[in-house]
């Protein structure tokens, strides 16, 4: 009886939301894009995703056992890192590649900083840029949809090489019928997942919408043969922009806390992505843009602190 009387400081409102609940909801919201990836690229996509998840979870478990830290593998954040990393890989990569990438993501991207909540960069993107810099051959060989032995370039890569795009209809871009990474191609499935997160209130509009809008605007103004002639819809629908804007730029840990800060973050990501796509050496810039803005997050947080009521 006496144990039921808790003495604690305010606030006293109790909510069932917790880190693990949010994380597992994000995992569920990523499932549609995963199913779409398997349908488009075949079973390889599933094995790659499972390998990355297994490697990420076991890395965290082993690290925490070795360093005698609290075991946190069940909170789902390692699962998300694994899934997001796999979604950023082409479907034709050898199976050791997601495993190496997931181990690197977890150790260098998260665990050396002290685990969830301490990491300055999005761990999955750390893993992806590590793999991209280390094994560019595998990371830029994309399988063609629905026939798993033929390779094809991504629409953005074709554009970068200056070849004629051969009109890919917007509808094909939207449902994912083109070369690309496992989880980024099917915009429809990604939007279903994003809708789940919006309905649950786990992500706000600030980062994704400013990010996508800024990229589109910048491409529209500067990305065409003349000013105001860019194909903004093509750029929004291709590459990893939707996946990045909804699932990776909204990482709680490595992004600004306040609404004003998140808008700055989103605009920065958008400008960087567009600049890399138009003038940079890579066809795609989403992961670098998000990582660069992750690095700027502490400064954004410092200058967008909300005024506490009554203070100057």
């Amino acid at each position: 009886m006496g144990n039921n009387l808790l003495v604690s400081g305010s606030p006293h409102i109790y909510t069932r939301e917790s880190i693990s609940r949010i994380m597992w909801t994000v995992v569920i919201s990523l499932i549609p894009a995963g199913i779409a990836g398997v349908i488009i690229f075949g079973w390889d996509a599933l094995w790659i995703t499972l390998a990355a998840v297994a490697a990420a979870v076991s890395t965290e478990l082993i690290f925490e056992v070795l360093t005698k830290k609290k075991i946190t593998v069940l909170d789902g954040s390692a699962v998300i890192t694994g899934i997001l990393l796999a979604f950023n890989l082409p479907a034709g990569v050898p199976l050791w590649l997601p495993i190496v990438g997931a181990v690197f993501s977890m150790v260098v991207g998260k665990l050396v900083f002290g685990g969830l909540g301490q990491n300055i960069f999005n761990p999955a993107l750390v893993g992806r840029v590590f793999l991209l810099a280390s094994w560019p051959k595998y990371m830029t060989t994309f399988t063609k949809p629905f026939c798993d032995t033929v390779t094809s370039a991504t629409p953005l890569a074709i554009l970068k090489e200056g070849k004629a795009l051969g009109h890919i209809p917007y509808w094909d871009l939207f449902i994912g019928n083109h070369g690309g990474c496992i989880g980024e191609v099917c915009i429809l499935a990604l939007l279903i997942g994003a809708a789940i997160l919006f309905i649950k209130g786990y992500i706000s509009w600030h980062i994704p919408f400013t990010y996508i809008f800024t990229t589109g605007l910048f491409i529209y103004v500067f990305g065409g043969p003349g000013l105001f002639k860019g194909d903004w819809l093509f750029h929004i629908l291709s590459g990893g922009l939707i996946l990045g804007a909804f699932f990776m730029a909204t990482d709680y840990v490595a992004t600004p806390l306040t609404a004003r800060g998140q808008i700055i973050f989103g605009v920065g990501c958008g400008v960087l992505t567009a600049v890399i796509r138009i003038w940079g050496g890579y066809p795609e810039g989403v992961s670098y843009a998000i990582l660069m803005m992750n690095a700027a997050t502490p400064f954004i947080d410092r200058y967008t602190k909300n005024r506490i009521y009554g203070s100057r």
Partner: protein, 197 residues
């Protein structure tokens, strides 16, 4: 005698210039692509350290305090020029591999740091051993970093392939790989140090 041995050994682990004092990182980042480069750079820096430490400790009483830094730099630059010309004459391949980083030993903070912090306050024997210890510590650190980077970045050690079928991650041959390796090693050495205390 004991203190002389101490002056030599402190530079190798307890006050290792790279991992504990965190000095001279620019050449470390730049040349640690292969073990040969690491050894070459280490020996060149050790020679300059030895020479400048000895000369500085000999002339310390004649140098006015206000212009001591320029004087140190002139002494260091002399030894760097000797090193550079010798390297050009006897080992042009290494000279080409190290490039601008040999003349840049002039501004290597280990060399100036030892002249300022140690050699201008101590006698010849102590300064000699201090310079030698620091040089050996710097060389060992360079060899460690460059061995890790050469193995991971190209699958080789000293030009010999170790494991067949190993596809090396290129990133360790690039500047970002150097930052990663040095950062992780620094963390590792701090971990050991914190465990001990």
């Amino acid at each position: 005698m004991k203190s002389l041995v101490h002056e030599f050994t402190k530079g190798i682990i307890r006050e290792n210039p790279t991992f504990v004092l965190v000095l001279g990182l620019c050449p470390t980042l730049a040349v640690s692509v292969s073990v040969v480069n690491g050894i070459g750079m280490g020996i060149a820096a050790t020679f300059v350290l030895l020479g400048s430490s000895m000369i500085v400790s000999l002339v310390k009483n004649f140098i006015p305090n206000k212009i001591r830094i320029p004087c140190f730099i002139v002494i260091i630059a002399t030894f760097v020029t000797i090193t550079e010309l010798c390297m050009k004459a006897y080992s042009p391949v290494l000279d080409r591999a190290l490039g601008i980083y040999v003349p840049l030993i002039v501004v290597n903070c280990i060399v100036l740091g030892r002249a300022e912090a140690f050699a201008c306050k101590n006698n010849l024997a102590k300064s000699f051993l201090d310079g030698l210890g620091m040089g050996v510590g710097f060389t060992l650190a360079l060899v460690l970093i460059s061995a890790i980077r050469e193995f991971l970045g190209s699958g080789q050690i000293l030009g010999h392939t170790l494991i067949k079928g190993f596809e090396p991650p290129f990133i360790f041959g690039m500047p970002s790989g150097a930052l990663l390796v040095i950062g992780l090693l620094l963390g590792f050495f701090n971990l050991i140090k914190n465990k001990k205390t």
